[in-house]
């Protein structure tokens, strides 16, 4: 499973600047186990954002957000609410955020940083890849990870090597920044290209030993007892 932690609330508020109508998406897979994007965390986020004056147009906890087909079927009944929103805040790992951004024609904001890939409690990912960098920058890039999608992992791309939408490394590979450009254009966010993505703090990619533990960590508390509410 992909372990995540919620981004600082101030960072999330920064993403939502100028947007009033927000839809919240959570995930009943890894994010629920990480206690970052299950129903309790989605409701908590709803309350906090409402206290900041945001209108929450709706919320949904999908089981599993990493799978496009499930995102589509879960959101179909809520399409009107999603489409009347200014944006969608996703409390999930980097895969789920990218899947949501691929399926929803609205600005999608990451609510979590993805820490590492642990064991068990499945995920069901498609083509989206998360590098577990611990400092999600999907907000800058329209929900397409430049570390995963660009051959050079450039944060301020594109480089000068792409032609006809293909990466310089291989004609089989689409240019990641071309995809990012298309997505930002589609969602009316081309201004994001002006922002400087700062040098990355790669040390966040090296989680602490405590965070590296796998399936059991979610069931454990500091004292080793089993948490309530988790099967």
């Amino acid at each position: 499973m992909l372990r995540s932690e919620q981004k600082p609330f101030e960072e999330i508020l920064g993403y939502l600047e100028g947007e009033n109508m927000v839809f919240i998406l959570g995930c009943d897979g890894c994010a629920q186990a990480s206690q970052t994007g299950g129903l309790p965390q989605v409701l908590e986020m709803k309350g906090r954002l409402e206290r900041e004056g945001k209108k929450i147009t709706g919320y949904k906890v999908v089981d599993f957000l990493c799978q496009k087909a499930l995102v589509a079927s879960a959101l179909r009944p809520l399409e009107d609410r999603v489409m009347e929103s200014d944006s969608v805040l996703v409390l999930c790992c980097g895969v789920g955020i990218q899947t949501s951004a691929a399926m929803i024609l609205k600005p999608v904001h990451p609510g979590c940083n993805t820490i590492n890939l642990g064991g068990s409690r499945g995920e069901w990912r498609g083509s989206e890849r998360c590098m577990e960098c611990g400092d999600c920058l999907l907000d800058y890039t329209g929900g397409i990870c430049p570390l995963a999608a660009c051959s050079k992992g450039l944060r301020n791309g594109a480089c000068g090597g792409a032609s006809n939408g293909r990466c310089e490394v291989s004609p089989e590979k689409p240019c990641g920044w071309e995809l990012i450009y298309a997505r930002l254009k589609e969602t009316g966010r081309l201004d994001m290209l002006k922002k400087f993505v700062p040098p990355k703090a790669w040390n966040k990619m090296r989680p602490t030993p405590e965070m590296l533990s796998t399936s059991v960590w979610a069931l454990e508390q500091g004292d080793g007892s089993i948490q309530e509410g988790i099967e």
């Binding site: 594109a158 480089c159 310089e168 291989s170 290209l193």
Partner: protein, 310 residues
């Protein structure tokens, strides 16, 4: 215009003269004479000489050592630095090494992907990207500090350059990307080789519309074609290169032994036309393994003699 560094290139550009730069690729070995010989051929015809940094990801003698050789000859090197191979510690360290020899120009690049070179298995570093490297050099120069915040004893005094490719995809982001590099602090630009002059003029117009030509010195990049084969290779195989069919046809249309001459003619004609483009402040002549032709290109283009500066 006032200057901010002791760079000779900056002085020439600030004086309003068209600047001329060229480049030398270091050898695949430790024979330093290769560099000094190439530099001897062109030194009176250019204002500054770029030294490439393991171009196309093929391992070569390092750019910094080659720049030091030029400096010791009394020439003006431009240190090319790619972020592909070194992290931010190594990059800052090499910048200081160059500064200790009073190397006053740097060109900040991300670099070709390592899959093109002789070590495709190598680690993809890109700890910083070219945008970050521009900011880093400016920060070290203006603030006199390392990225980590500590003070630098005798900070680098470097005129900061970058490359742009007006021809890569998507075209719509090429001028915004130039604007981003300007906002990051770049002071001069050397462009990708220009063969599609119409497209370059369109790009330049868009740059002028945003006033960018007044914020950064733009040197137009040109590369003389040696043969029709090279034209085809550049068109089909070199990433981000735009060689129009008529250029390939013109090269193919003359006998093989006349093709080098035709290539020089095309190059000189391009420079003549680019001189008329508002915002072009000089030329970067990349005569790839053909440095001996730089003098005649410069002379035929009416760019000789080079201005003297103090």
């Amino acid at each position: 215009m006032s200057t901010k560094t002791p760079s000779r290139l900056e002085k020439i550009l600030a004086s309003g003269n068209l600047a001329v730069t060229s480049e030398c690729g270091p050898p695949r070995g430790s024979n330093g004479d290769t560099i000094t010989k190439k530099a001897e051929m062109i030194k009176d015809y250019v204002d500054a000489i770029n030294i490439t940094d393991n171009q196309t990801s093929v391992t070569r003698l390092c750019s910094l050592a080659a720049c030091i050789r030029l400096k010791l000859m009394g020439l003006e090197p431009i240190l090319q630095m790619v972020t592909r191979d070194r992290n931010r510690i190594a990059l800052q360290s090499d910048i200081l090494g160059a500064a200790s020899f009073d190397i006053f120009n740097i060109l900040c690049l991300s670099g070709d992907h390592q899959s093109f070179g002789d070590n495709p298995q190598g680690q993809n570093v890109f700890d910083l990207d070219s945008m970050h490297l521009i900011q880093t050099v400016r920060y070290m120069r203006e603030e006199g500090k390392f990225l980590g915040g500590d003070d630098i004893d005798r900070p680098p005094r470097m005129f900061v350059g970058a490359a742009v490719n007006p021809f890569a995809d998507p075209f719509e982001i090429r001028v915004p990307r130039l604007a981003k590099k300007v906002a990051a602090g770049v002071e001069f630009i050397q462009t990708q080789c220009i063969y599609n002059l119409d497209k370059f003029e369109l790009w330049m117009k868009q740059a002028r519309d945003r006033g960018l030509h007044e914020k950064v010195y733009i040197l137009a990049g040109v590369t003389p074609l040696k043969s029709a084969g090279m034209a085809k290779y550049m068109k089909n195989r070199v990433p981000g290169m735009d060689v129009p069919d008529e250029v390939v046809e013109r090269m193919s249309g003359v006998p093989k032994e006349k093709q080098p001459e035709e290539g020089i003619k095309i190059c000189v004609e391009s420079i003549q036309r680019l001189k008329e483009v508002e915002g072009v402040r000089g030329f970067h002549i990349m005569a790839i393994e053909w440095e001996e032709k730089v003098p005649e290109i410069v002379e035929q283009s009416g760019l000789f003699p080079r201005p003297k500066v103090e």
